[in-house]
Subunit: 340 residues, 2 copies
C-alpha cells in the first residue's frame, strides 16, 4: 500500500460534502483501494471472476449431501449461464472464467471453461495425502496463471470462486491444521448435512488430522489435506497480490485458501478485502484468524464466489462516492468548522 | 402480499441449482418481492429516489454540529450532482427527485427540485408544537404526491431520503414519544456532536417530551415533535404501500417516519424492506420496534437515502438470481434427493 495515496485519499474523504465518517466502511474501502492501486481514483472495474473446480477423494467417506457427479455437472451449468455465479457475473458485467482442475464426471469442451485437469480427484485425505507435491505445484501454477490472465486483461479486482463436492471437509481439515483447532469447531453442514452427517464428517476430519500430525507449513498442509481448487485459489490470490490486484475474498473455502496464502506470505493480508460471512459455522473462526470483518452477513453458503460477487456493488459505490462527490468548497456548502 | 405467489416463488427457490437455502436472505428477498409485486418475476427497476428537505426550528437550541444554512445548500448540491445520493442515484440509474418543504436559506429554481415549501422551518419543538395540523396535512400530501408520481412512472421500488439540519433531534423526540423511551436511549451525535453536545440535545428532547405529554396518536405526535420532511416521508411511505410499491427504508430518520406510518396503519409493515443499520445509536431501538433486520451494517449515518441506495444492488441480485438461475431439471444437475 502507498502511504502517500492513503493520506491523500483520507484527506479527500474529509473534504467531501458529508459529515466526516458518515459513509462508514465505504470511506475506508475507498482509501484502502486508493492505497493498493496507487491512484487518486480507485476503481474495481474491470472485475475478473475465476471459478476453480475439482473433485475430492474424501467423498468416498460420505461427507457431502450431494453426489460427486455434481462437480462436473455444475461446470457445464457455469458455462451455460444457469448457475448463481453465472447470473451474478452477467449482472455485474464481470468476466467469468472456469478452470477445471480435475473431475470424476466427464466435462465436454465448453466455452469459458479451461481444461487444466491434474487428476480425476484428489486422494482420500482421511487415509493418505490428498495431493502429491507435483500436484500441489500444478494447482498453484494454474491459480497463478489465472492471476496473470487477470493482470494482462487490466482487471482491477479479482474474485476467486470454488466448486468441488466435499470441499468443506478439506477446508475444515486445513483450517484445523493451520489454526490448531478441533474438528468440532470448524466442521459444519456444508451443502446440507444433518446432525448425524456433521458428526460423521467431524470423525473423518479427526482421522485426517491424526494422520497429518502437527505440521503447519502451508504447502505441506495443502498437500496433506487440501484440494486442487483450494490450492489453485491460494495460487491465484498470491498471484494477484504479487501483480497489484486486490482480491475480494468469498466465503469459507476461499477464506481458507487465503489463510494458506497468508501463512505462506504474511504481507498478502494487505491485498485482501472480505466480502461476506458465510452461514457455514467454521467461517467465523477463519475470519477471526485473518482479522477480517466482512462487508455482508446475509446467511449465504453457496460458494462459486457468489458472496463476493454480491458485494462488488458496495466497492463500486465506495469508489464512485470517493471519485465523484463534490467538496464543501466546490459545492459552496458550509462545513462543520465554519458553523455560525 | 399474494400467498399464491409466495408459495410459487418458494418452490422455485427450492428447484434452482444450489443447495436449498444457500443464498440466505437473497432467497427471502426474492420471495417477499414476488409476493408484494404479485409476479413470478420480481424486479426493483425502475427505482425512484425522492429526497425530502426541510428546516427545523429546534436548531435555535444548538442541537447540530452543522449550521442551518446547510439544508438549502445541500438541495443545490443534490441538483448539481455532487451529493452522495446524487452520485449513488446516477450509478444505480435510478431517478432522483428532491422536494423542498421549507428552508431558512434561499433555494433558487433548480432542475429536479420541487418547490413545495410550507414555511421556512418548523417551530421549535422544545417550546411549542413543531407544526400546525394544516402543516402536517400539507407535508403528508407532498409525500403522497411523490408516491403517486413514482406509481405513474411505473417504479417498482421507492426510496425516501431526508435532508434537514436538526432532524435527528426531531426523530429522537418522535421515537421517544411513540415507544415510551428516555431521551438518553434515542439521542445520538447526529452529524457529529461531542459528548457535551449530545447531553444538551438530550435535555432539549427531554423538554419537548415533557411539553408533549404521553399522547401516542401518530398524527398528534408528528405535529408536536416532527419535521416537514419526516411527515412527508411518512406520507410517501404510506402512499407507496397503498399503490403496491415496496419501500426500501434508509436509516434513522426514514425508519422513524416508517414507524409513524406503521402506528397509523399496521399493515404497512409488510411493504417495508430495511436497507441498513445506521451508526446513529437510536436506530437499533427503532429497528427493533419495527421487528426489522436490515441488510447492511456498514457504519453509515449520512441520511439522504444513501444507505438504501447502497443496498439496491442486493435486491437486484436477489431478483436476477430468482428469475435467471437454471433449475436442477433444466441444467441436468443431480439434486440432493437423488444422491447416489
Amino acid at each position: 500500500p502507498d502511504t502517500l495515496r492513503i493520506r491523500q485519499a483520507t484527506d479527500r474523504q474529509q473534504a467531501l460534502t458529508k459529515p466526516p465518517g458518515s459513509l462508514g466502511r465505504l470511506e475506508q474501502l475507498a482509501v484502502q483501494l486508493a492505497g493498493l492501486q496507487k491512484t487518486e481514483q480507485p476503481t474495481v472495474d474491470p472485475v475478473r471472476i475465476t471459478v476453480f473446480a475439482g473433485d475430492h477423494g474424501v467423498c468416498e467417506e460420505g461427507v457431502s449431501a450431494f453426489p460427486q457427479e455434481v462437480t462436473a455437472q455444475m461446470i457445464a451449468n457455469f458455462a451455460g449461464g444457469g448457475a448463481a455465479i453465472s447470473v451474478l457475473a452477467k449482472q455485474l458485467d464481470a468476466s467469468l472464467e472456469v478452470v477445471n482442475l480435475g473431475t470424476v464426471g466427464e466435462v465436454p469442451e465448453l466455452p469459458g471453461v479451461r481444461d487444466e485437469q491434474i487428476a480425476p480427484a484428489t486422494a482420500n485425505l482421511a487415509v493418505t495425502n490428498a495431493m502429491t507435491e507435483d500436484q500441489v505445484c500444478a494447482a498453484l501454477a494454474s491459480g497463478d496463471a489465472a492471476a496473470e490472465r487477470a493482470a494482462d486483461a487490466g482487471c482491477r479486482l479479482f474474485i476467486g470462486g470454488d466448486m468441488g463436492i466435499g470441499n468443506t471437509t478439506s477446508a475444515a481439515a486445513l483450517a484445523c491444521a493451520l489454526l490448531n483447532q478441533s474438528p468440532e469447531s470448524l466442521v459444519g453442514p456444508g451443502t446440507g448435512l444433518d446432525t448425524a452427517g456433521i458428526s460423521r464428517k467431524s470423525q473423518v476430519v479427526d482421522r485426517a488430522l491424526k494422520r497429518h500430525g502437527d505440521n503447519t507449513d502451508p504447502l505441506t498442509v495443502l498437500a496433506s489435506l487440501g484440494g486442487f481448487e483450494i490450492a489453485a485459489l491460494t495460487g491465484a490470490i498470491l498471484g494477484c497480490a504479487a501483480r497489484g490486484i486486490p482480491v475480494l475474498v468469498d466465503g469459507y473455502i476461499v477464506s481458507v485458501a487465503a489463510l494458506l496464502g497468508v501463512f505462506q506470505q504474511p504481507a498478502l493480508r494487505d491485498w485482501l478485502l472480505f466480502a461476506h460471512r458465510s452461514a457455514e459455522p467454521g467461517h467465523a473462526r477463519v475470519l477471526e484468524a485473518l482479522d477480517a470483518k466482512p462487508l455482508l452477513d446475509l446467511g449465504m453458503r453457496l460458494g462459486e464466489g457468489s458472496g463476493a460477487a454480491v458485494a462488488v456493488p458496495l466497492l463500486r459505490a465506495a469508489c464512485a462516492l470517493h471519485n465523484n462527490m463534490a467538496s464543501f468548497a466546490d459545492a459552496g456548502v458550509s462545513n462543520k468548522d465554519t458553523a455560525s
